[in-house]
Structures are given as C-alpha cells and as structure tokens.
C-alpha cells in the first residue's frame, strides 16, 4: 500500500489539514502516528482507512479488508452489541458460522462477551469501545487503523488490543495507530510518522529493535538502516512476556528453542519470556502454528 502526495482539506476555501504525504505502507509494518492536538492525525488516519476521500493525491493498493476504530463510538444504533457485530461481519464478507465464530472470538478476547447481548445504547463507553474494536478485527484486516482505540478500556482489554495489533502486523497486516500514551506499543513501532502543525508528515524510524530480513527503508528520503541486532547494546536487555493459549505439549520444545526465548512456564496458558529484540519474530512464528492464540503481550514482571 502506498500514499502518493496525499492531501486533505474539508472544502476548497479551507486550509489543508494534511498535505503532500508520500509514504509506503508495506505489509507487516506497525506505524505510530504522532503530533499535537489538531495536527491532523485523525484526518490522516481516516483518509488512509478510506473513510473519507483524499482531496489531492491518491491512496493506492489499500488491502481488501480494512478495519477502522474511531476514537469515540457512541452507541446510537438500535442493536445489541452482538447483533451489530454479526451485521459488520457480513459487511466484511464473513457469512454464517465464519461470522458468528469471529464475533464470539473477539468478544471473548476483549472481555466483552458478558455484555454483548445488551442494547448498544445501554453500554458504557469502555464497552462500546470494545464493540468498535471487535468490528474492526473481525475479518483479520490487511489494514488496521486505530484512532486512540485504547481510550476507556480496562487494563486487560488494553493488553488484548496490544496483542491484536502486534498479531496483525506479525501476520502481514499493516497497522497504523494514534495514542496519547507515548508508551503505547513502545518497542514495537517500525516507524513513527510525525505530523507538524503545517500538515506535513515526517517519517522517522520506529523504536522497535531491528530484525534481520525485514526491510526498514520505507521513507523515499531514506533514514539510516538500523544496525544488526547483535551490535545493538539495547536489544536483548529488555524482556517481554507473551501469554499463549492452545500450545500443545508436543510443541513446547520447539517453542523453547526459538531464538530469543528465555523461559517458558505455565500449564494451561503458557507464559513465554522473550528478549524484546526477538519478540516480534517469536510472535510471528507461533501465530503460524495451528490453534495457538496470543492472549497478551506485556513487559516482563507484568504478571
């Protein structure tokens, strides 16, 4: 996916909110969009998600399945949470059992299953936000756009959304997010897009540990390629815990021998301690295994 000199203004006499943005959004990239209030972050995300058309330039190669989570999701629809999600699953192209299965899975992962049959109007802000997140994740989207989607979530749901965002990126999706918390997904962003007040975007390298075999040059201007992880003194110092469900006993040994895995504990849900420099590779690997789900991802000592 690619942005070609994209600009957006809401009317011909209005100022440009975003202008002249050219960037590549390759598969598997996790991008943090940052800038002050009113700098055009939400507008840029909406243009990329296809919610509103660009006024100049174009957005090419948007993946077929796109999930967008707005910053606020007021429950103004005459449905229960589950009914809304079943409708959205159909809109995303998931019919019948595939749709209801995905709905149940995401309600469960975000801890919203208990409230899903209540009318949307009666749900709290946090619960509505969980429904909004679920609808975006239902089709396992190739492009996931999160506009302060963490706002109003409880800690467990924040962790589940962190895990879901990393899972999308690890399985070849493109993820863009804005969050007021500077520590959100810290250590995992491949790029940071900084919006100046003038609507221009500066593409900066992310704060994730570099990984071999992964292209990092997304900026046409080219920012310095990160060093090999072995030379990076910061990499490996930080430890990440990944909680996995559905790991069979037979797979334990292959899990323990993955590069970067320090320890593997737990009986039901396995808790894996991984060097931060290898956490994305481990995630990508285990997500390819049958039946394995990521329950949460967090800094070491979190649990």
């Amino acid at each position: 996916m690619r942005l070609e000199t994209v600009g957006k203004r809401y009317g011909v006499r209005q100022p440009w909110v975003v202008r002249d943005v050219s960037a590549d959004l390759p598969a598997g990239r996790l991008i943090r969009v940052e800038g002050r209030n009113g700098s055009g972050k939400s507008t840029l995300l909406r243009v990329i998600a296809g919610v509103t058309a660009a006024s100049a330039g174009r957005v090419c190669g948007r993946p077929a399945r796109t999930g967008y989570v707005p910053e606020r999701f007021p429950g103004g629809l005459p449905f229960s949470g589950r009914e809304y999600l079943v409708h959205m699953a159909r809109v995303h192209g998931l019919r019948g059992a595939a749709g209801t299965g995905a709905v149940d899975e995401w309600l469960d992962r975000l801890g919203a299953a208990g409230y899903a049959d209540q009318p949307l109007r009666s749900l709290s802000k946090g619960m509505c936000q969980k429904i909004a997140i679920s609808q975006a994740l239902l089709p396992r989207p190739g492009l996931l756009v999160l506009d302060e989607a963490w706002t109003g979530l409880d800690q467990a749901a924040r962790g589940a959304l962190d895990a879901a965002a990393m899972e999308r990126a690890a399985t070849g999706g493109t993820v863009l997010f804005v969050d007021h918390d500077a520590a959100r997904l810290a250590g995992h962003a491949d790029e940071r897009w900084r919006l100046g007040g003038d609507g221009h975007v500066t593409v900066l390298p992310g704060d994730n540990a570099p990984r071999p075999g992964r292209p990092t040059a997304g900026d046409p201007a080219g920012y310095p390629t990160a060093d090999d992880p072995a030379d990076d003194p910061a990499a490996g110092r930080t430890v990440v815990t990944i909680e996995l469900a559905g790991v069979e006993d037979g797979s334990l040994s292959s899990l323990a021998t993955l590069p970067g895995v320090l320890a593997c504990t737990g009986t039901g849900n396995r808790v894996v301690r991984v060097a931060a420099s290898h956490s994305d590779d481990v995630l990508r690997e285990v997500l390819a295994w049958d039946g394995v789900r990521v329950v949460s991802v967090g800094p070491a000592g979190d649990r």
């Binding site: 909406r46 919610v51 509103t52 967008y68 629809l77 005459p78 159909r90 995303h92 609808q135």
Partner: protein, 238 residues
C-alpha cells in the same frame, strides 16, 4: 452489497424510523380517498403524497447512523456502497408504501364503471376491464417515488447538513415537486388530471418517467460524491 442492505434495513426497522412516514402516509391517503370521486383521482392522490413521505423517509435513513458507525462501515465496504445502500433502503421502503397506497385505492375507491355491486371481488372484476387506469396509477406512483427520493437525497446530509435548513428545504422541494410542471411528478400528475375521466385509460407518457430516473441518478450521484468527501469531524448532522 446484500450485507449493507440488510444492515441498513435492520437500522430502519429497529430504530422505528418507519413509523412516522407510515402514519403520515396512511392519514394523507385516507383524507385523499374521502375527497376523491374516482379510482383515477384516488390513485393520483396516493402517488402525489408519496413525494413528501419518501423525501422524509430518505432523510430519516440519511440521519440514522452515528458518524462513528458510518466511518466503520465506510472502511469495511467503501463510502460509495455504504451511501447507495442507505438510499436504496429508503427507496425500497417508499416502494412498499406506494404499493400499499395502490392496493388501498383499488379496494376502497369507486369502481370505474357504474356497476353497483359491492365487495372486493366484484371491484377487482370491474377493474379488469380498465387496466389502463391501474397501469397509469402504477407509473405515476413510480415517478413520484423517484422524485421523493431525489428530493430527500438532495436536501439532506451529507449535501445539506443543518437540520433546520434541511427539513424546511425538503418540505419546500416536495411541495414544489408536486406543484410545478418542471418536476416530473408535477408533470405526470397534471397530465393525468387534465385527461381524467372515470373510465378513460390515461398513461402519463414516458417523458416524466425518464426525467424522474435522470433526476434520481443525478441527485444520488451528488449525495454519494458528498458522502465520500464527508467532513467526519463534524457532529452537527441530524
């Protein structure tokens, strides 16, 4: 598209936004039936009343979805399809009202012959001899349905966002659409009333229908174009 139509139809049904147009249309055609002397007049009246009712039904659909929910659907399916589904569901609801209006006219109006026989069966038997009146009623209803939908699409969000201005403009345009010969609906109705005779078949001509289809296409295109460029920051719509 089917999924979007189901979603929008469910919003229309579950939000109870269909109740006001249904009651308004029922009252309007009842009043018209009481003042009409022939089947042709009754059918013309029920077609004419479709213009404001469908215009406001279209408004009801265009304002039913909160901005955030609309944005999620737009990302999932595209803004063009989402907007067309909204307009189509309102048009479909209007078509159901139009069919109900025609059935009501056929069952209650004076039969087009002087036969005094009572009962629905004999009325339908009498109508069988005058299919032209029924066909003309159907075509006029179709023209008015399209004009009503066009008025609703043109004078409501996302093209006209201020709620007060939108409602007044919708009402004024519906009245103009019926009163002026410039409008396909006005032209069709004027033609049938000029040639009205209790037993004559009066086909309004293909010109009003073609004009109504063009009007519908242009207004829907404008509404859809505006929907793709909608300022999703504003929350003043509705």
């Amino acid at each position: 598209m089917t999924a979007l139509l189901r979603y929008q139809a469910a919003i229309l049904l579950r939000s109870h936004r269909w109740i006001f147009p249904l009651i308004a249309y029922g009252l309007l055609i009842s009043v018209g039936a009481a003042g009409s002397s022939s089947l042709a007049e009754t059918l013309d009246w029920s077609a004419a009343m479709l213009v404001p009712v469908v215009a406001f039904l279209t408004r009801a659909m265009l304002t039913a979805e909160p901005d955030a929910a609309r944005a999620c659907v737009a990302a999932a399916a595209g803004t063009v399809k989402a907007q067309l589904a909204t307009l189509l569901v309102a048009l479909g609801g209007g078509a159901l009202l139009g069919i109900a209006g025609i059935c009501f006219g056929l069952l209650t109006a004076e039969p087009p012959t002087t036969a005094t026989a009572a009962g629905a069966t004999s009325k339908l038997a009498a109508l069988a001899g005058h299919p032209g009146i029924v066909v003309a009623g159907l075509l006029t209803t179709l023209v008015c349905l399209f004009v009503g939908s066009a008025v609703g699409a043109l004078f409501n969000p996302p093209l006209l966002r201020h709620p007060g201005a939108a409602m007044l403009a919708t009402l004024a345009a519906a009245v103009f659409g019926l009163a002026s010969d410039v409008s396909p609906a006005g032209a069709a109705l004027r033609f049938t009333s000029q040639t009205a005779s209790p037993v004559a078949a009066h086909w309004p001509g293909s010109f009003p229908l073609a004009a109504a289809v063009c009007l519908l296409a242009v207004t829907w295109a404008a509404s859809t174009y505006a929907a793709t460029r909608r300022d999703t920051r504003s929350r003043a719509e509705g």
